[in-house]
Symmetry: C2
Subunit: 376 residues, 2 copies
C-alpha cells in the first residue's frame, strides 16, 4: 500500500522523523538530568508513546480522560492528567486506579482539593495531586510566592486519602518568544518559579517529590533544569511549522502531514482547491505571528518535496485554498486529482480529529497503521 492508495484527507506520520524527534528529546532530558514524561496530547497514539517512552521510566502526560483511558487500555501505568481536576472527573480517575494505573492529578485551588478528599473517602481510594504553579504563562496555577501555594499544599498533605505529589508548571508563554535566547530566558523563569515553589514546600515541612516543567520550546533550549525532576514536552514528537518558526526544529523534523487531493483550480483568485479544509487541517494560525505565507500549512508534493512556497491561505469546512506567495500557483503541476501533503501549522490541532495514522518511513510506502485517541 502506498500513499497514492489512501483516501483523502488522510493523516500521514513519518515514523523515522518521530523516532528522531523522540531520541533527540530523550538526549535533552538525559543531558539536563530530568525524567521525560512526554505529553501525549499531541500524538494521542500508543505506538508513538512507546517510541517516546523507550528507554525512559514509562510515565506519560495526557490532557483528557479519553486519552487517559486510551493509554491505560494500551498498557501505560503512570499517567499525569495535566488539566485542573474537577469533582466530576474523580470517579473515572478512581476507576483507572482500580485497574492498576497510577494517576497523578493537578490543581490550583482549595475547592478541588476538598472535593477530592471527600470523594477519596467515599470511594475508599487515594488521589495524588500536584499543585499547579504559574511561572509566567498567565493561564492557570498559583504564583510561587503566593500564600495560596502553601494553603493548597497543606490541605492536600493533611487530607486523608490525598497525597501531595509535588508541583507542576507549563511555560505556555514560550510560544510567544522569538529565537533561542528569549526561549532560554523563559525556560529559566519556568525552572526558577517551580523550583522556588518546591523550596517553599520543603521549607514548610511538606513533601515535594515531583518538580515538573513542560513545553517543547523550553525543553529544547533550557540551559539548566537544576531542581527540576521531570519535563513534559509534547509537540516535539510530531513537530510543526510553529516549532520551526520558533527555531526548535527543521522542516524535515515535522513528522505529520495531511494528504489531500486537488479538487479544482480558481484562476480568478489564484487558488488551487484541495479536499482538506478547516476540519482536516484545523484553523490554528499560531505560526502566523512568526512567519509569512504559512496560513493553515505548507504544501508539499506527494513525496515530501516543498512546492514553490505554496501554502493553504484560506479554509472552509472541507475546502482548502492553496496560494503562492506571489502570483498564481503552478496550476499545471497540480492538476485536478494530484495529491499534496500539507504540513501542520500546529500539529496538536491538525492531528486531533483523525482516528488513525498512516505510517511511512521517509518514503511513500505505508509501513503501518496506528490507532489513536480522539474526542473526549
Amino acid at each position: 500500500m502506498k500513499l497514492a492508495d489512501l483516501p483523502t484527507p488522510s493523516l500521514v506520520l513519518d515514523r523515522a522523523a518521530l523516532a528522531a524527534n523522540c531520541a533527540a528529546m530523550a538526549a535533552r532530558a538525559a543531558k539536563l538530568g530530568v525524567r521525560l514524561r512526554p505529553h501525549m496530547k499531541t500524538a494521542k497514539s500508543a505506538e508513538a508513546a512507546k517510541i517516546a517512552t523507550a528507554g525512559q521510566f514509562g510515565g506519560i502526560t495526557v490532557s483528557t480522560l479519553a486519552e487517559a483511558e486510551y493509554f491505560a487500555s494500551h498498557g501505560f501505568r503512570d499517567i499525569t492528567y495535566a488539566v485542573g481536576i474537577v469533582p466530576g472527573k474523580l470517579d473515572e480517575i478512581a476507576r483507572l486506579q482500580r485497574d492498576g494505573v497510577a494517576m497523578t492529578l493537578v490543581t490550583d485551588n482549595v475547592a478541588a482539593v476538598e472535593a477530592a478528599a471527600r470523594r477519596a473517602g467515599e470511594l475508599g481510594t487515594e488521589f495524588a495531586l500536584l499543585v499547579e504553579i504559574e511561572t509566567g504563562g498567565g493561564r492557570a496555577g498559583v504564583l510561587p510566592e503566593s500564600p495560596e501555594l502553601l494553603e493548597i499544599a497543606r490541605r492536600i498533605a493533611q487530607a486523608k486519602g490525598l497525597t501531595l505529589a509535588g508541583v507542576l508548571t507549563h511555560a505556555g508563554h514560550s510560544y510567544k518568544c522569538k529565537g533561542e535566547a528569549e526561549i532560554a530566558a523563559v525556560a529559566e523563569q519556568e525552572r526558577a518559579g517551580v523550583v522556588r515553589a518546591a523550596e517553599r514546600l520543603h521549607a514548610a515541612g511538606l513533601p515535594c517529590p515531583v518538580v515538573s516543567v513542560g513545553a517543547t520550546p523550553t525543553a529544547m533550549f533550557a540551559r539548566s533544569l537544576a531542581g527540576v525532576t521531570e519535563m513534559r514536552p509534547g509537540v516535539y514528537t510530531l513537530m510543526d511549522l510553529y516549532q520551526m518558526a520558533l527555531g526548535v526544529c527543521r522542516r524535515e523534523d515535522i513528522a505529520v502531514s495531511v494528504l489531500a487531493t486537488v479538487i479544482g483550480h480558481n484562476p480568478r483568485t489564484g487558488r488551487i482547491l484541495v479536499d482538506a479544509g478547516a476540519l482536516a487541517l484545523s484553523q490554528d494560525r499560531g505560526a502566523a505571528g512568526l512567519m509569512e505565507h504559512v496560513g493553515f500549512g505548507w504544501v508539499l508534493g506527494e513525496k515530501g518535496e516543498r512546492l514553490d512556497g505554496l501554502y493553504v491561505a484560506e479554509t472552509n469546512q472541507e475546502h482548502g485554498m492553496i496560494a503562492a506567495p506571489t502570483g498564481a500557483p503552478p496550476f499545471d503541476r497540480l492538476p485536478v486529482g494530484a495529491r499534496v501533503r500539507i504540513l501542520p501549522n500546529h500539529a496538536c490541532m491538525m492531528a486531533a480529529p483523525y482516528s488513525i495514522y498512516n505510517v511511512v518511513e521517509r518514503g511513500d510506502d505505508i509501513v503501518d497503521v496506528w490507532d489513536k485517541a480522539s474526542g473526549w
Copy 2:
C-alpha cells in the same frame, strides 16, 4: 439522566430548537417554491436529518464521503456530495450507488469529467454530475457566462455513463454581509447567476433539471428564487452566533452548545478556566468580524440562561478562558466544578469532532442520545 450527569466537555442539542429551525426553513422553501435538500455537514446526524427532511422529498447534501456513507447506512437514498469530485473518490461513489443510493456529484472542470466518464465505463456504472457555478463566492465553480460552462456541460452530456444533472452554486460571500438588505442582494446575485447558467444550458440544447442554490443567510432572506429548483442550506439546523450576528436567527434558536466544567479561576488575568478549549469549541472566529465579545462562544448557565455577557476569550488545546466584557468575571457564581453551556461561534466547526449529541428539549433532561458522523 440530566445534563449534570454528563462528563465534560459534551455536546448538547436542543431538539425543540432544531425542530423549530427545520420547520422555519421548510416554510421558507415552500414559500419560495423550491425543494429543500438540507446540507447535513452541520449536524452530521441521521436523527437531525430525519427532522430536517420531514415533509420534504428526502434528498440531503453532504461534504464528505464519510457523511455519505453514514447517511446511506441510515437509509438516506438521495445524496448530493457538494465538494468537487476527484477520480480517487469515484469507486466509493459507485459502491454507494450499488447499495441503492442515488448520488449526485459536483464538478467545475473537464479533467474530473473525463476521469468520471472513464471510471463509469470501467466500473459499468453511471455518475450524475452538476456543474458548479461561481456567483460571487470566489471559491469554486465556473462563471455563468464563461465558455467553460458549456464546454464542461457538453462533455458530461455527451459522455457515455455520465448524466448532466444541472447546475449548483453556493453564496459563501453571504457570510460577509451586514444585515438583511445586503444578504438579500447576495441572494439575488446567487439566484440570477445560477439561473443564467441554466438558461445557457437550455439554450444550447442541454438538459438542466436541477438548479441548486445553498447558504443559510440567502435561503432566509432571498426575495425570490424564480428559476431555482432546490436549496441546500445547512447551518440553519443548529444555528450559531455567526448566524445571529448576521440577523438570521435569535439567540434562543441556537440548538447546540458544549457543556463544560469550571476548572479554575485566574484572578490576575480575570479569567475563569473551563475544560473546553480549542478542540472542544473549535478555533472558529467567524462572528468576530460582526460583533464584539464573542470570542470562541458565549457562556450560558447550565439551564441556558445568559451569564453577564461572558464569553470564551482565549483557548488552548483543552483549556477555555472565559472573560467578562469589562472587568472581572463573576468568580463567585462560577466556582470550580460549576457547569456552563457554551454557544458556538460557528456550529459546523464546534459540533464536528463529537461522536454523539446529548439531546434535551428546552430543559436539562437528556431525552435521547444521537450518534453522528465525524472524520473522513
